[in-house]
């Protein structure tokens, strides 16, 4: 659908940006990727997302849509083909719940590891990530019904919500030397992570773990450098 005017403002390293990219790939929609430079925000971004000034922003025929999960739902409702959200209303509510939990509690815990000022805070954050993964393992069992994805046979909303954090999860594992996705603790999620990452709609847009590690080290160095007051 080259005649469709679809642009995505984003950055390769951002897990939030990866969500609409996977969604558009699943729908077979072509789009122009407008990559932001780290450390500065383009005029277009500021104009398209005046409230949050953040990526991703999907611009469809000149109209901006913001917030990654809202964009994913928009993509699902606008283009036919692969269904991202379940068809049953209750299943949709459950999918939305887990996506909300992942963004509201789980990912901030992961981010909390790097942000922790004390050893105690760091360990608490690590504990929260493990607890969350256990919850998500149970959720996976219920949602997947024995199939490969949260969405069942095919990639769905929760797969996209959680799967797009896998790069950063693996990067964090490397940075702190702890294995979060452990076969002995969360075997279903381990297997799912492989399947998700290797899916054709995902593989090309999943950032490389080593590049994320480099990027994280660069940011950490920047924040730990003494400020000139």
């Amino acid at each position: 659908m080259a005649s469709e005017d679809v642009k995505l403002i984003g950055a390769v390293m951002s897990p939030f940006v990866m969500r609409p990219r996977v969604s558009l790939n699943l729908k077979g929609v072509e789009y122009e990727f407008l990559e932001e430079t780290f450390g500065s925000k383009s005029e277009l971004l500021l104009k398209s997302n005046p409230v949050y000034k953040k990526i991703p922003v999907l611009i469809h025929s000149g109209k901006p849509i913001c917030e990654s999960l809202i964009i994913v739902q928009y993509i699902d409702e606008t283009w036919s083909g692969h269904s991202i959200l379940p068809s049953d209303a209750y299943d949709r509510a459950i999918a939305r719940f887990w996506a909300h939990y992942i963004d509201d509690k789980w990912f901030p815990a992961l981010g909390g590891i790097a942000r922790a000022q004390t050893e105690e805070a760091k360990n608490e954050a690590i504990e929260q990530v493990f607890t969350g993964l256990k919850l998500l393992e149970e959720a996976f069992e219920k949602c997947s019904g024995g199939k490969p994805f949260f969405g069942g046979e095919t990639i769905g909303y929760v797969d996209i919500a959680l799967g797009c954090y896998l790069g950063w999860l693996r990067a964090t594992e490397k940075l702190i030397g702890i294995t979060f996705l452990d076969e002995t603790k969360t075997p279903l999620l381990c297997h799912w992570a492989e399947k998700f990452s290797s899916h054709e709609a995902v593989a090309s847009v999943m950032p490389e773990t080593d590049k994320l590690v480099e990027f994280a080290k660069m940011i950490q160095a920047k924040f730990k450098a003494p400020a000139n007051k």
Partner: protein
């Protein structure tokens, strides 16, 4: 044992999040059993129905729980689709509705809480932030009757319960919301003309009393 079509709502009287659900149910004319929860002493049923967050509101439909107020409102809208919709039909309008409802979730309650919990400079900063948040909302409302246009919809449901908290916020932080955001206050009054809203929102005096109780509990002067 819940019947297939039984609707129960686990809620707390003054919760703006619970009120969103009550308003949505009223708009759709749905009968349900309201179950007031003691949040200082949470029931087994609540903990079992929402083990992840252990919070209200929780809607149970035929015994199956749905959590998170905006998710519940979307569920209600989708299930009772024979009644006037809360979300628009067109995808872009839907994305816009979800964006502003989500904005309300991210910003209003937390900032409002700061207004009664903090003092001095920190409270002043929260006041500034509060006004900024509502100016954004006022910008989105414009001169429309409701956020969705002529019809009461998703964004209105998401935001209107907080109108009952305005008096408490104004009294604690000493400012007038009407002065800075007159369109929002006028919109609030229009919403109150709807039975679903007027019968659901708490009395502002009772909300203020509740805030004073919270202040005491948190040791805020």
């Amino acid at each position: 044992m819940a019947q297939e079509n039984d609707i129960e709502l686990l809620d707390f009287w003054v919760s703006p999040f619970g009120q969103r659900v009550r308003i949505a149910l009223a708009e759709k004319g749905v009968d349900y059993e309201y179950k007031e929860q003691d949040l200082m002493n949470k029931s087994e049923f609540l903990l079992k129905s929402n083990p992840v967050y252990k919070q209200i509101p929780v809607l149970l439909h035929g015994g199956k729980p749905i959590c998170q107020s905006l998710i519940i409102v979307e569920y209600i809208d989708e299930v009772w689709s024979d009644k006037p919709p809360l979300l628009p039909a067109e995808p872009y309008a839907r994305a816009n509705a979800r964006f502003w409802a989500d904005f309300t979730d991210k910003k209003v309650y937390e900032c409002g809480t700061k207004l009664w919990k903090l003092k001095g400079e920190e409270q002043a900063a929260a006041k500034k932030e509060f006004i900024e948040i509502f100016k954004f909302l006022e910008g989105e409302l414009g001169d429309k009757t409701f956020f969705g246009g002529e019809t009461f919809g998703f964004i209105d449901v998401a935001l209107v319960p907080f109108v009952a908290w305005f008096y408490a916020y104004e009294t604690c932080a000493k400012f007038s919301i009407e002065e800075v955001c007159p369109k929002i206050v006028a919109w609030g009054k229009r919403c109150m003309e709807r039975e679903s809203v007027s019968k659901t929102l708490s009395d502002p005096d009772k909300v203020y009393e509740f805030v004073l109780f919270l202040k005491k509990r948190f040791g805020v002067e």
